[in-house]
Amino acid sequence: LPTSKVTEYDVDGGKEDLFEVNQAAGLELFEGDILYDEKQGRNS
């Protein structure tokens, strides 16, 4: 392909799974992707 004109855009940007997405976003969620309600949840 004449790469000067036709490109490819990687929507993942190198991130493989949702836990990597969350870590890259700086999230520190319970078990990686769980919202935790102290009032209703259990003590971790």
């Binding site: 392909l1 855009y9 990687d10 190198g14 078990e31 769980i34 919202l35 935790y36 259990r42």
Partner: protein
């Protein structure tokens, strides 16, 4: 999670918030369809139910576990989360599932390498005892889409989770689709007896041929065989891998006369939607004039014996290959699917064969890209080299293709890379299309060729043509006419056409995974491709009280979008219509606060219905006040204290007054007697 209070109704209300990415909205709909196909869990737009799932674009992908009864329960599908598997994962959390490796018995199956976990991240490897979490009598599942990958939260390159059976080391964490065990647990938790959109599957392995019947009034029958004269030599389900199994149905056209027909009719089926997709594998080894037709026999009160209706003729010359076919049906009453084989003119050395039939109330994929000898292509294509599918024309007129890196790229050598591109098509058609191409979602699915559609763990990724995105470092639009922004290429037959830039991922699927399950069958891989217009997703989901279709819509300017690598200035997006409330609507002048919704009371008066939770509620004519159970307790305590205090005061006052009155009374009496009282001992 143990506790009926965490369950949702089997039809879960959802609300897609406006901030969601358009592609994410489309993928959420696809994830819902997988739930409907494989479980009894259905999803419906929120129509005022007390509790519902609000899907929004947060900064990541996350959810609560189970129904928390908080009214509006949030679930985030942020940037990078718009994959079917990720969305299914988050909704499994919402439905009440923890991660697989947090099971009470997980230490029997995996070893957590605590010294390899990033500092402070140990809490991610909690486990729950069997009073909190139930495995629902399903064995530990390395395939689960709720399982972490081996390197989760690792501070280096060494795995944090080591599977006790080494073969599963690279299996864990590869979220493709629901595993068999995921489905078993979900269906057990919600007492599912049937899936919402699944109708039938048949691989013809059992002698009862899934309740199919030989049609009446035909001249010949379909035979239940493991091989047929003239081909095929094996079935498609097992590809002859298992001795004594591997059946399919065959109609031989070697003998008989021209015009002989054989009908194979499915059992009775009861549709819920008025559209279905029939998928099957077909082997044609007869004469080119032999043909297969798909009919439906529909039953209603007028025709209790059923009426036949022709749907489609399967055409094409004989080919030594099990071909995948899709047929769209549009049945809304009780029916049977009828496979009608007809012997054509001329001699035949074979016949027609059928295997792996699946019928579901879903939309059929539009295009099939079959890559023969795929393993060989993976091994022999130079790394960083793409192969391209044929060009496919969508029903909207746009022509597109898929590019695949079978041996990965330098950066991602272990993966398959997959990209979607627009291409030029017919000049006349292209010139009448809207450019840049607006809001078309292209889905690329590597089909797991398991015979049963419910057990398939296919890998799919979708991208959407945002007409506002620009090419990196350019003022030109990414999804503009490929004749304008693409490069001219030459097809294998010498045809020249234009190919636009690719949008997709270099990490589509690991090559190891592509070699597993039934992604490759008979040496071939099958990609299912489709393009769908999802511009309707630009509209806000109607709120319960304001569902007003076909009303006058105002225009709104959307935010501009550019790719991260692009430095060109942003531009204004073309105006887009969004839903609004008609001026005559009584709710137009009423603003309900705090997520309250406006309803028309008795058709004459607008009133706010306020959001309520488990222990709190809003009230007031605009839902402007909030109260909770705690408020009630405080009120009760304060009221009791006040009442008690008032009663004490009243009693003291009454006592004092009574004593004073008595004192005065006796004092007056003694004064009236004129002397003091002489006391004496009256009993002495």
């Amino acid at each position: 999670i143990i506790g009926d209070e965490y369950l949702w109704p089997t039809t879960v209300p959802y609300y897609l918030e406006d901030d969601l990415d358009i592609n994410a909205k489309g993928v959420i709909m696809k994830a819902f369809e997988q739930y409907r196909l494989k479980t009894c869990i259905d999803y419906k737009p929120w129509s005022g139910e007390e509790n519902y799932i609000s899907v929004f674009q947060g900064n990541g992908c996350y959810s609560y576990v189970g129904n928390r009864h908080v009214g509006k329960q949030s679930l985030s599908i942020g940037a990078g989360c718009d994959q079917t598997a990720t969305i299914e994962h988050e909704f499994l959390h919402a439905l009440g599932f923890w991660h697989e490796q947090s099971r009470a018995d997980r230490d029997d199956y995996v070893t957590i390498m605590w010294d390899r976990i990033q500092g402070g991240m140990e809490h991610n490897f909690n486990k729950y005892d069997d009073t909190t979490s139930s495995s629902l009598n399903v064995p530990y599942d390395y395939d689960s889409m709720m399982h972490y990958s081996k390197n989760a939260f690792s501070k280096g390159t060494e795995p944090t989770i080591v599977t006790k059976i080494p073969a599963f080391s690279d299996i864990i964490g590869q979220s493709l689709e629901f595993s068999d065990s995921d489905l078993l647990k979900l269906n057990r938790l919600y007492n599912c007896t049937r899936a919402t959109t699944f109708l039938d599957t048949c691989d013809f392995e059992l002698e009862n041929i899934c309740g199919m019947i030989q049609g009446q009034g035909d001249k010949a029958d379909w035979e239940h065989v493991t091989k047929a004269t003239g081909g095929p030599d094996t079935d498609y389900s097992n590809m002859g891998r298992c001795t004594g199994t591997g059946y399919f149905m065959h109609f031989s056209t070697i003998s008989g006369t021209e015009g002989d027909t054989a009908l194979l009719e499915s059992r009775l089926l009861y549709p819920n939607r008025n559209y279905q997709c029939l998928q099957f594998f077909y082997y044609h080894s007869g004469n080119p004039n032999d043909k297969l037709e798909i009919w439906v026999r529909e039953y209603n009160e007028i025709n209790p014996s059923g009426t036949l209706r022709m749907i489609e003729t399967i055409t094409g010359p004989p080919e030594p290959l099990w071909q995948l076919h899709h047929v769209n049906l549009d049945v809304s009453t009780k029916f049977r699917v009828v496979f009608k084989g007809t012997k054509g003119a001329g001699s035949s050395t074979g016949g027609l064969s059928l295997d792996d039939i699946n019928l579901s109330e879903t939309a059929c994929p539009e295009h099939v890209w079959r890559i023969k000898n795929f393993k060989s292509i993976m091994e022999n294509t130079p790394r960083g080299t793409a192969i391209h599918s044929p060009r496919f024309q969508s029903k909207y007129g746009y022509t597109f293709q898929m590019s695949l890196y079978p041996s990965g790229t330098t950066t991602y050598p272990e993966y398959l890379g997959a990209f979607a591109r627009l291409t030029s098509g017919d000049d006349m058609i292209d010139s009448n299309l809207t450019w840049p191409c607006p809001w078309m979602q292209i889905t690329m699915m590597l089909m797991d060729q398991n015979a049963d559609i419910r057990k398939r763990m296919s890998n799919q990724r979708s991208i959407t043509t945002d007409p506002n995105v620009k090419l990196p470092g350019s003022t030109m639009y990414f999804w503009d006419n490929p004749r304008k922004v693409g490069a001219q290429v030459t097809d294998v037959d010498g045809t020249k056409y234009f190919r636009g830039s690719g949008y997709g991922t270099y990490g589509y699927l690991t090559q190891a995974r592509a070699l597993s399950r039934d992604f490759i069958k008979g040496g071939d891989a099958i990609f299912l491709l489709s393009m769908e217009d999802i511009s309707n997703m630009l509209l806000s989901q109607p709120l319960p009280s304001t569902t007003v279709p076909n009303t006058t819509l105002p225009t709104t300017t959307l935010p501009t979008t550019t790719l991260p690598t692009t430095t060109v200035p942003t531009t204004t997006v073309p105006t887009t219509t969004v839903r609004t409330i008609p001026t005559h609507d009584l709710c137009a002048s009423v603003k309900c606060e705090n997520d309250g919704v406006c309803v028309i009371d008795n058709g004459v008066k607008a009133a706010c219905r306020c959001a309520v939770g488990n222990d709190w509620w809003y009230h007031g004519d605009r839902c402007q006040f909030k109260s909770s159970n705690q408020d009630g307790v405080v009120m009760a305590v304060v009221s009791s204290v006040v009442v008690f205090a008032v009663m004490v005061v009243v009693m003291v006052v009454v006592t004092v007054v009574s004593v004073e009155c008595l004192k005065n009374k006796y004092k007056k009496k003694m004064n009236d007697m004129g002397a003091g009282i002489t006391t004496r001992n009256v009993h002495a």
